[in-house]
């Protein structure tokens, strides 16, 4: 069964690029344009991994992560969270890890980088 990935980014272009890469890796891809949409999705679904932007309208990636951590996935494994953002300072990266992110992709990224990170969190 193919793995699933929720791409959370307010940029349509980024979502399209990510979808293209992920589908070529046989992922089933869902999209959300902000943290709130992502949270609504995660209340009803359990993707294997979430690719999460930092700065988004309505609800940021960090705000999403805070709320996401409170979700109960029952016996299922918690989805992996991979930040994918232009916020590339070490302080941002440390804050993301502290908040529960499993991996961090600094934009711009290419297929190889994304694939490597997904391998690191055990979904590729």
């Amino acid at each position: 069964m193919s793995k699933s990935c929720l791409v959370v980014d307010d940029s349509k272009v980024i979502r399209k690029v990510a979808r293209h890469i992920l589908e070529s890796m046989a992922f089933a891809v869902e999209e959300a344009a902000d943290g709130q949409e992502a949270l609504t999705f995660c209340r009803a679904n359990r993707p294997d991994v979430i690719l999460l932007d930092w700065n988004m309208p309505v609800m940021s990636g960090m705000e999403f992560l805070g709320a996401f951590n409170d979700l109960d996935f029952g016996h299922d494994e918690r989805p992996r969270v991979v930040f994918c953002t232009t916020e590339n300072s070490i302080d941002h990266i440390r804050a993301a890890i502290e908040a529960g992110a499993d991996e961090y992709v600094m934009k711009p990224f290419d297929r190889e980088t994304l694939e490597g990170k997904l391998q690191l969190v055990g979904v590729a």
């Binding site: 300072s89 070490i90 990266i93 890890i97 992110a101 991996e103 600094m106 290419d110 490597g116 391998q119």
Partner: protein, 283 residues
């Protein structure tokens, strides 16, 4: 198909590479020569490959020769390349070495063809994170490569955003690297654990103080023609401890290449000195 330069120019360049490094250019790399050498030609104000060859033949510039050879080498590497190999090394291989060297409490690692250093830093991080386990042990990590440019970069220990993201878990990145304007700099505590030096493994003896317990030689031997590869295996065996491990690249094997090493019965994908295997079986 080759580029616009004359065939003799390619032959000279391939000869230069082989004589300096022992490496041969496979047909699928030949077509990239011109592209690889473009920055070198620009830096030295040389118009095309024929002019480069003429300059190499007539000039006494060591820099031009070094730059030319460097540009033709493949320095592709990244952190924790093939994670599963490092997982096996971190647990099983190192545990075996600990047992074998329990008295000497010495661990010697040679990264042959280390390129820009990521593989050596990967091992250094791994061992540093097992500080308690290795307390009281004398650990030597050596990284050698024929490319002076790659070794210079390895010594400095600065990696671009692209390089630092390749294979390195983010937790380790923030623990062992500082973000600087020039890139991600390996912390001094990590850099001091590795000695890098420019060496041709076919000619030079690595600066190891003791036989190597673990030798990495990944994706290097594939660039050697068969006779050179045979010599390379002999060089590796000459410095390998009797009960040691050799790590090759994913697509590489010893099968049909050498009788100096055999597949490890303990660890899939790793190799051990062949004579040691004979002794084990005999015992």
């Amino acid at each position: 198909m080759m580029g616009s330069a004359s065939e003799s120019a390619y032959r000279v360049l391939m000869g230069v590479l082989e004589s300096r490094t022992g490496q041969s250019l496979s047909p699928n790399r030949i077509w990239r020569i011109e592209m690889s050498l473009k920055p070198v030609m620009q830096r030295h104000g040389i118009a095309d490959l024929d002019a480069l060859v003429a300059a190499l033949v007539t000039s006494t510039s060591r820099q031009l020769l070094d730059d030319t050879v460097d540009a033709m080498l493949n320095n592709e590497t990244f952190f924790y390349r093939e994670h599963s190999v490092f997982d096996d090394i971190a647990t099983k291989a190192l545990e075996h070495i600990r047992e074998v060297n329990a008295l000497s409490r010495r661990l010697t690692i040679w990264h042959c063809g280390v390129s820009t250093g990521q593989e050596a830093y990967s091992m250094a991080m791994l061992l540093a994170e097992q500080a308690e386990r290795w307390a009281g042990w004398q650990i030597q990590i050596i990284g050698t490569d024929v490319s002076y440019h790659a070794i210079s970069r390895a010594r400095v220990g600065i990696y671009s955003q692209f390089e630092i993201q390749r294979g390195l878990p983010v937790q380790r990145m923030v623990r062992w690297f500082d973000q600087t304007e020039a890139g991600w700099l390996a912390k001094a505590d990590l850099r001091r654990r590795i000695e890098f030096s420019v060496q041709n493994m076919l000619v030079d003896r690595p600066p190891l103080t003791h036989p190597a317990d673990l030798i990495f030689c990944r994706n290097l031997l594939l660039y050697f023609a068969a006779p050179m590869r045979l010599k390379a295996f002999a060089r590796l065996r000459a410095v390998a401890a009797p009960q040691s491990f050799l790590v090759l690249g994913a697509g590489e094997t010893v099968l049909g290449q050498t009788d100096q090493f055999v597949a490890s019965p303990r660890l899939r994908g790793l190799y051990e000195p062949a004579d040691q295997q004979v002794r084990r079986v005999a015992a």
